[in-house]
Symmetry: C2
Subunit: 420 residues, 2 copies
């Protein structure tokens, strides 16, 4: 089955809005095993929109339109579709009622213009919009289907998942189940070495990609029903987790900070950080997780030598002997974080996230990360991310710090054997 | 002049990558006064790419391609363009030399495949790529020009601005000059009240938009030459800055943290922060600025009451009396930041960035921000961002904190009169 995505809206052609709808739809279509050969964006212009609909219907089995379903004069998608189909527009009483109810529930007055959104070609099937006034439509010409959705991402996504996906999956005679496995603390090549033979499989398919310091594997199975698809997925997923266990941290909506948090909460342990290279980003990512105050005690951003000595209690002789950016200072900071905030776990970061006076060019991107655990056990490592921008280096450093912490927590809980 | 954008890459059709290049190009083309009627995305497929190039050249004066210029087998843009033009491919010695130098500078071995990037149709003009191995091309057919750029956003943007924009502006017989004025600490409506009559002007045009807690005005002038365009811009820009002076903070590449930094450096003053609601994000944004160690002493992320008392020295009786989230505790934290890190300026933040046990639903989004200045002068305020997500609330809070700090620094330096 071949689909074409038709994005409609002048705001896309003047660069006011990024076309994330097309990306989202492309991903959902790929999950259904439906190919996309073209994404076409046109503005709110009747002649060009009709032409684009006509051409798309001529070369695809499914045309998915987004945008142009609103009540104003520049919302012309439904009328364009009707013209191409040689159809008229008629008011649908059920949609008119829905729109009236929406307005009265929101306590806003309805104008006559708003009822424009109740006009559809008689041959069209309607796609309900529980969250807005813009219903979508599905209409058939020959062997091709055209579906039109609103451009508001939340409405498009809800309507697509509730209405379009079950129908498309049923038509394909298949259910698609997909899960994302997430790994950190390794490169894509390192992970591929552990699991590369899985990439050749046809069902489930396994596709790797890197995503800002993480490696993700998208595992997708296709079967006649959900149980069959899950049965195909389960052993492959178990194998991929097991073989990459040193780096695996979570699935789907899990994030490194959220998984670290779950482990700390389960173990009733606490965490504190002492940041120089990461400058507060590590604490910020940890506190992005709801409920992090259960286990996160706090952090010190010790950006100056003075702060390292005065606010963290790192001995000034140690910094003088080894330098502010050194494994020794980083280890002392990780320990100091534990003591200063009374936490079981501490993380320290130092480094040069960008060029700085007195720093050799070859040292830009040099970062030390240390995790100090209960009882004072230390795990520290040097990284070099010289070719990257300051924000990226900071982000990579937080990823590595959290990945190391997670491994250490798991090892201390005995859930990972063979930890080096 | 009419342009068409042709985005090339299968990664776009499977939803792996968001097409931000098309958005960026559309915005730059709009600035030049060039219309875009269509954006077309195709994959790495020779037949469909050739067809898309052929059709685009038939209906636009300018076709801008991005992507498919790499060294691997799926990078086929140059070959497709050559086929459509009925042209051959020849190795360009200067490009081959550039590629060899790039590899030797990075200390990486070059494969024979990499020299594929030196192959171009003889009739093409080359577009230099200072940052990568993929040169672009510009080729003419009839009255239409086709330009091809790499898909790496930083390379595309640098090449577009250095090579394409001056040529297109010259051809249009006009120079476009544009500047972005940035305001913070106000809503779009508040700023519009001060400057709204400017929005009706035709040359320069003034267009407002909000961008994650800031309000930006894009001012664009069109004239026969750069001097004339600048002469049109200057008085309008001066008026817009003056009328929004309470909120204006910078232009173009300026960020709130970078402007705050410039003012602190100029005044030889230092800053420290004590964060609860913002959880480290404030320190992280401050340290995103190169050279921030000149004026940023450090920060304490005091996420627990214990940390506020122990690590910042906020009296526990004060917290007990007023609550951890209160104006009083926030003011004490701002002062404590100054003292703990020995800085002239201190910022404190407390609040509920998300639902939390024991917190009333109506208090979610409640944030206090306090700026403490030299001598201990305090400026604190309560904010309510209840309808927003945790990350957004944190970001808004850092914006307001930095905007307040900037106003206070300017006032203390006497560069702003009438400060309340």
């Amino acid at each position: 089955m071949l689909a074409e995505i038709l994005s409609i809206g002048t705001e896309l052609l003047i660069g006011q809005v990024v076309n994330t709808n097309a990306t989202w739809l492309a991903r959902r279509l790929a999950l259904l095993g439906i190919d996309v050969h073209r994404v076409v964006t046109v503005g709110d212009n009747m002649a060009r929109l009709c032409e684009a609909v006509e051409i798309a219907l001529g070369r695809a089995d499914l045309v998915v339109c987004t945008g142009g379903l609103g009540p104003t004069a520049d919302d012309i998608t439904i009328e364009a579709v009707a013209r191409v189909m040689g159809d008229t527009l008629e008011q649908r009483p059920d949609v008119a009622r829905h729109i009236e109810e929406m307005f009265s529930r929101r306590g806003r007055p309805m104008s006559r213009l708003d009822l424009k959104q109740a006009l559809f070609p008689p041959s069209a099937e309607l796609i309900p919009n529980p969250a807005g006034t813009a219903f979508g439509l599905c209409i058939r010409r020959g062997e091709a289907d055209l579906m039109a959705f609103p451009g508001v991402p939340s409405e498009l996504e809800a309507m697509w998942q509730a209405w379009a996906e079950p129908r498309l999956a049923a038509r394909a005679g298949a259910t698609i189940r997909s899960t994302l496995l997430k790994y950190a603390g390794c490169t894509e090549a390192e992970l591929a070495e552990l699991v590369s033979d899985a990439f050749a499989a046809k069902n489930p398919t396994v596709a790797p990609y890197t995503n800002s310091g993480e490696v993700h594997l998208r595992v997708t199975a296709k079967a006649v029903g959900p149980e069959e698809a899950d049965a195909l997925l389960a052993p492959v997923v178990a194998g991929l987790i097991e073989r990459g266990v040193r780096f695996f941290f979570g699935r789907d909506d899990d994030t490194l900070p959220s998984v670290v948090g779950s482990h700390l909460r389960a173990a009733r342990q606490t965490l504190a950080v002492a940041e120089s290279a990461t400058g507060g980003l590590l604490a910020s990512r940890i506190t992005d997780v709801p409920g992090s105050s259960d286990y996160f005690r706090g952090g010190c951003v010790a950006y100056s030598v003075d702060a390292k000595v005065r606010n963290l209690g790192v001995p000034s002789e140690l910094i003088a002997a080894h330098g502010a950016v050194s494994r020794e200072t980083t280890e002392a900071m990780a320990q100091a974080a534990r003591h200063a905030f009374g936490a079981e776990w501490g993380i320290g970061t130092t480094g040069w996230a960008g060029p700085s006076p007195g720093v050799a060019e070859s040292d830009v991107g040099l970062v030390y990360i240390c995790v100090a655990g209960p009882g004072g056990a230390l795990s520290s490592r040097e990284y070099r991310w010289g070719r990257h921008a300051r924000e990226q280096i900071k982000h990579f450093a937080t990823q590595r710090a959290l990945a190391t912490l997670l491994r250490k927590i798991k090892a201390s809980q005995g859930s990972l054997v063979g930890e080096r």
